[in-house]
Amino acid sequence: MKLSKHFLGATLFALALIGVTSFLGNDYYLRIVFMMCVYYLCAAGMNVLVGYAGQKSLGQAGLFAAGAYAVALLTTRTEISPWLALVLAAVISAVCGVLIALPSLRVKGPYLAMVTLAFGIVVEKLVGEWTDVFGGAQGIYGIKALTWNDQPLTPLQWVWLGIVLCAVTHLLLRNLLQGRFGRALLSLQADEIASSSVGVRVYRAKVIAFVVAAVTCGIAGALVAQQNQYINSDFITFHLSIFILLLVLFGGAGSQYGPLVGAVILTIIDASLARWPSAQHFLYGFLLLFALYFMPGGVAGLLSKWFRKPTSAPEASSAAQGLTRIGPQGEGELLVAQGVTKNFGGVKPAQNVSFKLQRGHIHALIGPNGAGKSTMINMLTGLLDPTEGSIKFLGEEVSNRPVHSICRMGIGRTFQNLRLFADLSVLDNVMLGRHTRMTNGFFATLFAIPSARKQEAATRARALQLLDLVDLLHLAHQPAGSLPYGLQRRVELARALATEPQLLLLDEPAAGLNPQETAELGALLVRIGKCGVTILMVEHHMDLVMSISDHVIVLDYGIKIAEGKPAEVQANPRVVEAYLGVDEPEQATAST
């Protein structure tokens, strides 16, 4: 198995390192290797946050401090075992991680970066100025070192411990990032709205990323404090935050080995420039300023260009499969909207709109530009909450529920302006759709227990099946953003289908398609309808609407002006008026 092969490789590598370091008699070199391990721990967690979740944290020094001062206070003021103190330090850092993640629920991007920066500075000030507790620049002496057989660890043993911790961290994070969680984090980095619409709990994922980064950083801080048996406020500086960030960016954010490369190279540079602190800082500033310009993927990105793996072979179609069943069969009302009203100040894109969607039908929502069609879709999927009225899906109220939970209930959607995760492969995009249908939790994924691996395999198989349905199997491993526009639309459709929707909302699925592609899309939608999926589509191509839909709803300026069978709607004078204005009726028979 691939996974165990990697496990074996990493273990052998760690053992080899342990063997090599045994012959390093020099304490100075041992110290450098130990610091590499410490910085690797920081970087590995930070990579989850920066490289995968795309959240810039500029306050990691604060979390480093949380771990370091936790062991310092715990071992100097209480009698608990140093090992237990190390574990508690990780827990305390995790709590701080939640704390620093809280603002991310409200603010994004540069705001959040600035808040994390402020967190780092506040911690720096606190440990520097609250001398009663943290000792300020005097620091805290007499921190108990970790012990082995009741003896404090020797420098060599510290290095071994560091290597073992790094290897374990690497393997655990690899489990986490290669499956469900890694995909979810990458998707929220690319597009939070699309991410929540496929069922990813965006805030929860962000908090998890912050906590992972906090725990590894806290453990790193605790190790440094315990190894030195001393900590003071000079350790906790803004430059440490920058250094930790740089480890990831320079090494290669979002790449598996980036943090390792960054930690090794930068620790060596750091050690060799230790005598000239201003040169050190100048170099870090220089790297921050130019590294992203010249090597956006970091050193690991450069290396992977040289050692490019052969791209995986295209997936072969798994023979002719019958129709894929997606939703349950049945009849009856699937969704009932009652008196839905939405006001944006003076603009009223929906006024007292009521309609019912029948299971198994293809419904169309049409109307001139500005009629409030997209607003309606956004209300049905929870991106907007109606000002008044109720939307009941299978008898349950939809409005005021978060987007991801509506997706879980069984409403899938596509967007008017494509919202694919452009850097992810087509297959990953579709697999993300199944995010809510997977049941492996955080810890199951972290430790790669067999059931989690089974889930992953099942999701992959299902995604391939769906790609087959939309005829994209041969492009499964291409980045979604590299596909032509028409094919991207189909990827988005497959992604929405992967959420196992009972109701599929399509916002202008044929926009930008040529007549040939539009006809193909029509056939595809009918096929999807036969798989047990009810469809509501917003569309301007009247030939498509009239040929495949069972039921048409017409909106104009937020008011429902007609509904019924396509032919009835076509003949309705109010509809004709809305599209073409008041004119001699005989001129207005054209369907568009």
């Binding site: 809280l102 409200r106 808040v115 100025e129 920058i242 992203l292 991106l383």
Partner: protein, 307 residues
């Protein structure tokens, strides 16, 4: 008690003026380019040190000296130093835009956060190489004798800071709302592509935004140096508090930013009366509180992403 309070409010207003200048600087670049200068704080320090070096040169001292001794620069020297600080900072702002912001602006991933941060780290390390980490006492342009006002002692430099800040705000407000230049800046802020179709040189406007923003940072550093000693580390907290002021007021609203800066200055100085340690914590707690209830600030516009 009331005297102590009044004293605190007055000095809070003075420091708040400096924060407001910094906050305004953030607002200017954010509205026009959707980017922030993450080394704005270092620019504040740089402004202080450039003004200081100009004074050294004027007094015939070497640039690298770290004390004024008994020498007292005259008003003319101070004015020239101010001009030098503004000019050099403007140039630095232009440089920052060209090498640190333009290559990354408008692209996903916020690489500009790193590049502007790196620019600041470089500035600071150059400063450290020249002057070292020790703070320098800088003589103020209006003397250091304390004035009695409403029964409380005020340093003239504090009044000067407040006065200059208020004048700058009024001028800026007038320029933004009543002149063609201001309209161009607001047009670029609203939609750069459309603005360029209307014949507005968006590149020039963006460069202008960074030049003005950096000059404002330099100005606040120049004004703060006599109050709080010039230090290469003074900027980081000033920059952060300026940003906090901007967040409280709303980054997209320059007037809100100014109010936020003043509010923060007063709050900080009042908390200081009670406990110096918790000063920073109180300030950032307020920011978090405001963000929790109004993520776009008290006076900011709600931003809606179209789907």
């Amino acid at each position: 008690m009331t005297e102590a309070l009044l004293q605190a409010v007055l000095s809070g207003l003075a420091v708040g003026g400096a924060y407001a200048l910094v906050a305004l600087g953030f607002s200017i670049t954010f509205t026009t380019t959707k980017t922030l200068n993450f080394s704005h704080g270092e620019f504040v320090s740089a402004g202080a040190f450039i003004g200081m070096s100009a004074l050294f040169l004027f007094l015939g001292l070497p640039v690298t000296s770290t004390t004024f001794g008994q020498a007292l620069p005259g008003a003319g020297a101070q004015l020239i130093a101010l001009a030098a600080a503004l000019g050099v900072m403007g140039l630095l702002g232009w440089l920052l835009y060209v090498i640190g912001v333009r290559p990354f602006a408008g692209r996903p991933g916020m690489a500009w956060v790193m590049s502007t941060l790196g620019f600041g780290v470089i500035l600071q390390s150059i400063g450290l190489a020249i002057w070292g980490p020790k703070p320098v006492v800088v003589p103020g342009p209006v003397g250091d004798s304390v004035i009695r006002l409403f029964g409380v002692g005020v340093r003239p430099q504090e009044l000067l800071t407040l006065g200059v800040a208020v004048v700058i705000m009024i001028v800026f407000d007038f320029v933004m709302n009543r002149t063609m230049v201001g309209k161009a800046m607001r047009a670029v802020a609203a939609n750069g592509n459309v603005a360029s179709l209307m014949g507005i040189n968006t590149n020039a406007v963006m460069i202008g935004a960074f030049v003005v923003s950096s000059a404002l940072a330099g100005l606040s550093g120049f004004l703060l140096a006599p109050i709080a000693q010039a230090s290469l580390f003074m900027g980081l907290t000033v920059g952060l508090k300026g940003f906090s002021g901007a967040m409280i007021g709303g980054l997209s609203n320059p007037r809100g930013c100014v109010i936020g800066g003043f509010v923060l200055g007063i709050l900080e100085s009042l908390v200081n009366l009670w406990s110096a340690q918790w000063r920073e914590v109180a300030v950032f707690a307020l920011v978090i509180l405001v963000l929790a209830f109004r993520p776009t600030g008290l006076f900011g516009k709600q931003m809606v992403e179209k789907v």
